[in-house]
Subunit: 680 residues, 2 copies
């Protein structure tokens, strides 16, 4: 409030009535308004925008509200100028969108409500709130002295000495859990009686704010009353309660979970944030107190993976983001032993937005190590991590062998088991956990070699090296490196979040953009077809390659990621990721359904190429998506990035659309041919 001058005007966008304000506004705000004679207005732009059909876009309403109050130019002139600007900006996106903007401009003028400020506000005083912090001393120090000042936009007042003890640029992990932004208007409410326990809601959640738990009786007994649950289905799970727990304050309110819920009577409905606040304590309890159970479900399944703690949570990604859903899943599968080299782009922003790092650790303190190098050298950066990791682990294996030579009994056995499983993703952790205490005993008895091994014990268990980036990086700027690293034969995993456009960089066309797509540098529609990164990479023959689309086939997504990871060689997984930039009908709450539609229309294809199958005399290429049954052109006309072409270039668009459809058909034919013929 302190930025409003005495006698000034203040407009608040909220869903409250004037009468409800007294209850919701903090005392400091109320007293500032009353004491400084502030003219106070409210507008419910949230419901207004929904009503008009603009979804979450409230900015136009608020802009015209600003002009109404500021009165810099006569409001009628301002409205006219704004409408002319809207026509110019959105004309090529269609008349419907122009009309919506007109309505929003009018609404900003008409829907303002002046608040009669009660004189009593001047004396308002809040009860003192004692802040309670949980976590390590270091973390609490960081939250108090870095996160909070920056969140309050006071970061530029921090002295350099604040960062003295992290001079290497390292940030603590899991900081995003301390933000509790509460930015969603609506959050999901879980209705246990309708739930079929598929865990798909949590599978697609971009922010890890809805999570599956198998709680035992004791855990349920101690849980807050608000925690809901139902008897868990599945063999061996009879004694557990299935909990699908929502995290209201971290949820972005995208609605993906509710939209994709396959339960006949929908087990999730979106409700106003306020109404779900009792779930916060339940969520906090679940995170802290409900342990991971052996449910008998393989972690390498859609459902099984969702009982694993996500090690990417509450990132700053857009509501409805698909990239983070892929990344979150990867952390559930491999996060406790992975390193990530991240290219510049969206994934480096949501992955490393200082100070609120969203990558986190599990109860054992294990989580992904993460770093971002340059746009153009990220694959090489990851290769360096992989080579260093391999060297370190080979050296450790040699030392364990030497220890084993002179060892007997339990130590000898632990060494042997360790060496037998050293490169086995599934078994290596267990063998390491058995080896370490034996080495500790030996070290205590003076074994110098054991001491040396223990110094690098974090590298004993099999590591998983991942290289993350978007299409701008993988297809264009960093492609020289992507190709070189994949060709190297080293055991690395490359995950490409393919939005078919430079998203974070500003919406420019990339080589991943498709024919007819409108983007920066492709205002008249991209004329040439999408680069076939998968086909190019398959030409090597020893690279594991998969194309996935989460919303189209959850199981194929998990399978591809698991295969990529356990392949002892280079792997490339290309995940289709619809993006805010695409202008999907209904917004990003439909992003996962859009992937499904894309695959059904033959716009995107799912397949896996596993070089290991060659040794079995099989075709390494497997096509996972069915023959397209939808219409390609109909599909692309669901997205503004395509429809805008027919506004700007109506004479050119139809030919481009049909060329795109034709190329897609050819591509599908090529894929089916390859699946049936074995080109290797």
């Amino acid at each position: 409030m302190q930025d409003v001058k005495p006698g000034g005007s203040f407009l608040l966008n909220c869903q409250w009535s004037p009468e409800e304000l007294d209850q919701h506004l903090p005392a400091s705000m109320k007293s500032y308004i009353a004491k400084n004679n502030i003219k106070f207005y409210i507008v419910d732009a949230i419901n207004k925008a929904r009503e008009i059909g603009m979804g979450k876009r409230t900015n136009t309403i608020l802009q015209s509200g600003f002009f109404k109050l500021a009165n810099i130019i006569p409001i009628d002139d301002a409205v006219q100028y704004m409408k002319e600007a809207a026509k110019k900006s959105y004309g090529r996106k269609g008349e419907e969108i122009v009309q919506m903007n007109y309505k929003a401009i009018d609404a900003g003028v008409d829907a303002l409500v002046e608040v009669n400020v009660p004189a009593s506000w001047a004396d308002a005083v809040d009860a003192p709130v004692e802040k309670h912090y949980e976590g390590s001393e270091q973390m609490i120090d960081f939250v108090k002295n870095v996160l909070e000042p920056i969140s309050e936009q006071k970061g530029n007042k921090l002295p350099v000495s604040t960062f003295e003890h992290s001079a290497d640029g390292a940030f603590p992990m899991g900081v995003s859990a301390y933000e509790k932004r509460g930015v969603a208007v609506d959050v999901p409410e879980w209705i246990p009686e309708n739930c079929i326990q598929c865990a798909q809601c949590s599978f697609v959640c971009p922010h890890a704010t809805i999570r599956a738990y198998a709680a035992d009786a004791e855990e349920m007994k101690n849980a807050p009353a608000a925690m809901k649950g139902k008897k868990m289905i599945g063999k061996g799970c009879e004694d557990y309660t299935f909990v699908m727990q929502v995290d209201p304050l971290d949820c972005m309110g995208c609605g993906l979970c509710a939209n994709i819920c396959p339960a006949p009577n929908k087990a999730l409905v979106m409700k106003p944030l306020d109404s779900q606040m009792d779930q916060q304590a339940a969520f906090d309890y679940a995170v802290k107190h409900i342990s991971e159970k052996d449910t008998g479900l393989s972690v390498e399944t859609v459902k099984g993976s969702q009982f694993k703690q996500p090690l990417l949570e509450f990132s700053g990604a857009c509501a409805g983001c698909v990239e983070t859903a892929y990344a979150r899943l990867i952390t559930q599968l491999f996060g406790d032993r992975m390193s990530i080299a991240n290219a510049t782009g969206c994934s480096s922003i949501w992955g490393g937005s200082a100070p609120a790092i969203p990558y986190t650790t599990n109860k054992d303190g294990r989580g992904p190590s993460w770093a971002n190098s340059l746009f153009e050298d990220n694959a090489e950066f990851g290769l360096g991590i992989a080579v260093a990791t391999r060297q370190l682990r080979e050296r450790l294996a040699a030392k364990v062998e030497k220890v084993m030579e002179k060892a007997e009994g339990a130590l000898k056995e632990a060494c042997q088991t360790y060496l037998d499983t050293q490169t086995n993703s599934a078994a290596s952790r267990k063998a390491t956990d058995a080896l370490v205490p034996e080495l500790e005993k030996a070290a205590a008895n003076g074994c110098e070699l054991s001491k040396e091994i223990l110094k690098d014990k974090d590298f004993l268990a099999k590591r998983s090296v991942w290289i993350f980036g978007g299409d701008g990086w993988a297809y264009d700027i960093g492609y020289g490196g992507v190709d070189h690293v994949l060709a190297s034969g080293e055991d690395v995993n490359i995950m490409v979040f393919d939005t078919e456009v430079y998203s974070n960089t500003g919406g420019q066309a990339s080589k991943a953009s498709q024919i007819g797509q409108v983007a920066q540098f492709a205002a008249s529609g991209k004329a040439i077809k999408k680069k076939d990164l998968a086909a190019i990479s398959m030409s090597y023959g020893y690279i594991y390659v998969a194309q996935i689309g989460m919303g189209a086939n959850y199981q194929q997504t998990v399978r591809a990621l698991v295969e990529a990871e356990n392949y002892h060689g280079p792997s490339l997984v290309i995940g289709y990721a619809p993006c805010e930039m695409h202008g999907i009908k209904g917004g990003m709450g439909n992003s996962q359904l859009e992937i499904k539609a894309a695959v059904e229309a033959g716009y995107w294809h799912l397949f896996r190429y596993d070089p290991r199958l060659k040794a079995e005399g099989k075709n390494p290429f497997q096509l996972d998506s069915k023959e397209p049954k939808g219409d390609y052109e109909e599909f692309i006309k669901r997205e503004v990035r395509y429809t805008s072409l027919s506004r700007s270039f109506p004479e050119k668009a139809p030919a481009m659309y049909s060329l795109a459809a034709e190329e897609a058909k050819k591509k599908y034919n090529r894929l089916t041919k390859r699946a049936s013929e074995n080109w290797d």
Copy 2:
């Protein structure tokens, strides 16, 4: 001589007897030797090396000669050390090579001849030689003031001001013609009576030192007596004399021409340089006075292309180089209108070795413009040239259209013809030649637009933009750019000289190296297969792609280059180029025959992918090489880069060789499949 101190020793490697020295040595040398009491020795390391079987490698003989004369350590010890070193260096290349080196070491000791220096040498005086320079004033200035001082190793004494008028780094073209190095031991002698007039000798010549001419009666009449010729065959050529003219002083003596000569009785035999010196005047006459005739032969054929002036000549490339044969041919086909962006590597060294630039111009002053940017951005550099060229030409076309609007008669017609053929490689020059004088007339009559057009008249005729580089550039370091530029759809032509190794950079393995190949960074044989750059590029569908191998199919080489150039889009031509680094049996005089053997063994494949064929409903992919009839493993065992593996890693080599053979077979199967099935 001035570096030899009075009383010092001097060893000269020459094929002369002591008695012949008086006649061959310059007076300044003779008098210095006599006046300063120099101990003078000669050795015929050239014939000695041949005798031993070391071909042109005289260095070992000369090294042991040095130790014999220098007497720094007792010669017996020196010999022993040298032999030990030879064993160590060449052991892995085979016992045969070790034995050769032993013989060479012994020869250096035994074959020295001390020369009895006649007292009369002290007073020796040469008749003064007046140097005669031909060329533009600027060129003569450059030759006298830059080329000659640098050739005499006095380049570091040149003042900066020498380069004042070429501050942008530009060098004059065609300087290499002034070097006349005379470095060949043997040069070809042409035997007209045996010649079948196929012009293949000139087609494969790396240094453009054997050239085909169609001379008319007048030209023959005025020619030096030494010029040979025979009645030309071919319709319409009855009145011409066919001349295959050798250039002794620029020839490197590789013997390629003689080796590949298909005439039953060989029309070329290698003879000592001295014996062929009368041909120099004939060559100089031919270059200067024999015009290019309309022989009725298409330039787009093997034979026809050889009557065109090479615009790359006398480069510093190794004897027997295949890269320069490709490049020379390209200049014959398109050189008078081409720009070359050259990557760092061999081709930037032989292409731009200051001061003796080998790219030259024709009688109209037209030749390739050439520049070298960085290793990693050369494709982008070429793209910039292409885009700038296209923009300039589009602007010119717009101006010509405007001129035409108001024009009448001949000018109007010339404009129309020009516009009709603006992007036609074959017709654009002719139309331009007709247009320019008309524009000049118009300009003289005050037409400002015509004046503007004439300012950029060099860009009126269709240009040809080429991007040159080796495999280190195209497959590795510059590949990100190669991919991006090819994907751009712009009209550029990329020529890759594929030696399968970093040649100039030092013999490191590249992604173009094959399984089992020994190279730097691949001492135990490259374990993974060669990157399939052609397949990768074909995945785009709109890139013209060809794989060529000159010695295996001359006609396919020409056809691919012509198609690549006249395709209005991106083109990639990958030319197989055996290299000094390969250790080919018999040396680089067999480089072209090695290509033939490579194709016959299924080591290399010839094909073309022309996107234009799709519009005709045809398969764009055409396989040009026949089913391999040779044995892959037998083939690779002809080259030291492969055989050295079995010396160093005898237990590992057989498996690698057969894996390589297996992958080659799979590749051939894939190619035949593609040729018969149409994968697009």
